[in-house]
């Protein structure tokens, strides 16, 4: 049951081979057994989960079931869910019970999915290893001495360890794709504006995007059908017609043009990762694709540009956490300014404070043009590189991350080293393009390697097709860690 696809689970539920309550119980028992070691979930609420499962069973009985009705889905703890503690991985929100639902949560509720629990994450989604969470690091189910990646590390570990059928993530600089790669699962960051940011706790608003994480491209397509859609409460949500993301899954890949950016295969890429990626490209050639060499000359600037734009937007977004209306307030203070300063100093962790400091500096008087405006201009150059590249190819492929999962604590003291683990993913966020990661083999240490597939704007259905055809021809995506 734990290895069934979402299609299979939906079929079993509608055929009454299993009830949603039984399925939810099975997952909750597995979480109780395995989560203490993996720390993939921050908050469970079996009472709410089982109530949703009972409602789903009634809906199935009445013949009104949708594709995901009754299926237990985990939610990254960045999504506000009414009645659920929503912490964003921070002490600042350790006691925050959300009074409302994020748009994405409301969409899952409407689809009749069961919210199985809130998954662990780097604090305010700032991190690439899940080590910045106030609730402790998540362990990689393939090797518990290693990180699951971040920031959606809890979601990635939960999917890999079969602690949920599928789950949500968010991706500001690689936070869906990098943990998906490091945990050997599939993850999709849609085109910016496709999934509503309403109720998704903001990090860098011009880059943040929600997306699905699961065990196969086919599962991601079903999740996208629920998550995507216009929402007037998000000012950057795109007004587009609803689409069926599964519509192209079975198309053959003959004639597909795959662009390989030379910058993604240069110095800094681990040789074991490079080998796995080359093997995946060879498989795509067998499936009928042709290879085009391309260049993204400005992509090398994406890390510096990102570390101006994201902290700048974060410093502004996180100014709302002041200990007045919700969240953490310091126990002792002398006056209002002291209350703000102490509440924020005690409520935020080291990485969050670091980014607030960077952002505050680059936005401060006299530095705005040199940093923020310059970064916004280079952002356009980076996006234009992709526009040029898509004149010659249909999708772009390369590694998701330069290495496989590193050891817990390995990059702890050097923020710059940690930032470089997102070197292949950040440019995609800056351009607002869709990107995904699918498992394509294992590295020297037997840890999973992720293949990154970058599509043109709104080309998610094609990317899912490209990933699905590979997953029909290979079995990397169905390998599971021995967690018990």
């Amino acid at each position: 049951m734990f290895n069934s696809s979402l299609y299979q689970l939906g079929g079993a539920l509608r055929a009454k081979k299993i009830s949603s309550v039984e399925l939810t119980q099975l997952y909750l028992e597995r979480i109780t057994a395995l989560n203490p070691e993996l720390n993939a979930y921050i908050t469970l609420n079996p009472e709410i989960s089982l109530a949703q499962a009972r409602e789903a069973d009634a809906r199935i009985a009445s013949g009104n079931a949708a594709a995901l009705t009754g299926i237990p889905v985990a939610q990254k703890d960045i999504f506000c869910a009414k009645g659920w503690r929503t912490t964003c991985g921070s002490k600042m929100l350790h006691n925050f019970i959300s009074p409302y639902d994020a748009h994405v949560i409301a969409q899952f509720n409407q689809a009749g999915a069961v919210n199985l629990g809130k998954t662990n994450m780097d604090e305010f989604a700032m991190g690439s290893s899940n080590e910045t969470s106030y609730f402790g690091p998540v362990k990689n189910p393939w090797d518990k001495a290693r990180v699951p990646g971040g920031s959606s590390g809890g979601t990635a570990a939960a999917v890999a360890a079969r602690l949920c059928a599928a789950a949500t993530g968010t991706d500001t600089g690689g936070s869906i794709r990098q943990p998906a790669a490091l945990c050997g699962i599939s993850g999709l960051k849609p085109t910016y504006g496709v999934c509503s940011r309403y109720g998704m706790i903001a990090f860098a608003s011009s880059l943040d995007q929600a997306g699905p994480m699961g065990r196969s491209a086919e599962d991601l397509a079903l999740m996208m059908n629920v998550m995507a859609g216009f929402d007037e409460r998000d000012s950057t949500s795109l007004q587009r017609d609803k689409e069926d993301y599964a519509r192209n899954l079975s198309k053959p890949l003959h004639g597909l043009r795959i662009g390989l950016p030379k910058e993604f295969f240069a110095e800094g890429l681990g040789s074991d990762v490079a080998l796995a990626i080359e093997a995946a490209i060879a498989e795509y050639k067998k499936l009928g694709a042709t290879i085009v060499d391309i260049s993204l000359p400005n992509s090398k600037l994406s890390v510096p540009v990102y570390y101006v734009l994201a902290p700048a937007e974060a410093s502004s977004n996180l100014s709302r956490f002041d200990g007045v209306r919700y969240g953490y307030r310091a126990p002792e203070y002398t006056d209002l300014a002291d209350m703000y300063e102490k509440s924020r100093a005690q409520g935020f962790g080291a990485e969050v404070k670091r980014r607030i400091m960077i952002g505050t500096y680059v936005l401060s008087h006299g530095y705005y043009d040199a940093y923020y405006l310059q970064a916004q201009k280079i952002r356009r150059l980076i996006a234009q590189d992709f526009t040029e590249a898509y004149k010659q190819c249909d999708v772009i492929m390369g590694p998701t991350s330069p290495s496989t999962a590193f050891k817990l604590g390995e990059k702890g003291d050097d923020p710059v080293q940690m930032y470089l683990s997102d070197i292949y993913t950040i440019a995609v966020n800056l351009a607002g393009l869709p990107g995904m990661s699918i498992p394509c083999g294992f590295g020297d240490n037997n840890m999973p390697v992720g293949l990154q597939i970058i599509g043109n704007y709104f080309d998610e259905a094609r990317m899912l097709n490209v990933a699905h055809q590979y997953q029909l021809a290979t079995d990397w995506h169905s390998r599971a860690p021995q967690v018990l």
Binding site: S235, Y307, V324, A370
Partner: protein, 95 residues
């Protein structure tokens, strides 16, 4: 680029983050490393390039000027650190 402790102190004050001497010193060295990473950007010629904030270059949507929010004060205040008589309490600001 080298930041001084006074620079860091000023930024911490602007960001409303209380920091002691040791924290300022450690923040200074880490921020210097990050700003050296960012410095790479300064050499790029961006004359005539328009800044980009959204991939689709959309203009802001407008909505009808109607009330859409309902009063949920009690619900919202149930999670506040300190409230009294329907008001959020903070330390006294005006003598």
């Amino acid at each position: 680029m080298t930041l001084t402790n006074a620079d860091v102190q000023k930024v911490a004050r602007l960001a409303r983050l209380a920091m002691d001497e040791a924290e300022i010193e450690s923040a200074r060295s880490q921020l210097t490393g990050i700003f050296n990473l960012i410095a790479e950007m300064q050499a790029v010629d961006t004359k005539g390039i328009a800044p980009m904030s959204h991939a689709q270059d959309l203009s802001q949507r407008l909505r009808e000027d109607v009330v859409t929010e309902t009063n949920q004060r009690e619900l919202f205040q149930s999670i506040a650190p300190q409230v009294e008589a329907g008001l959020y309490l903070v330390p006294q600001v005006i003598e």
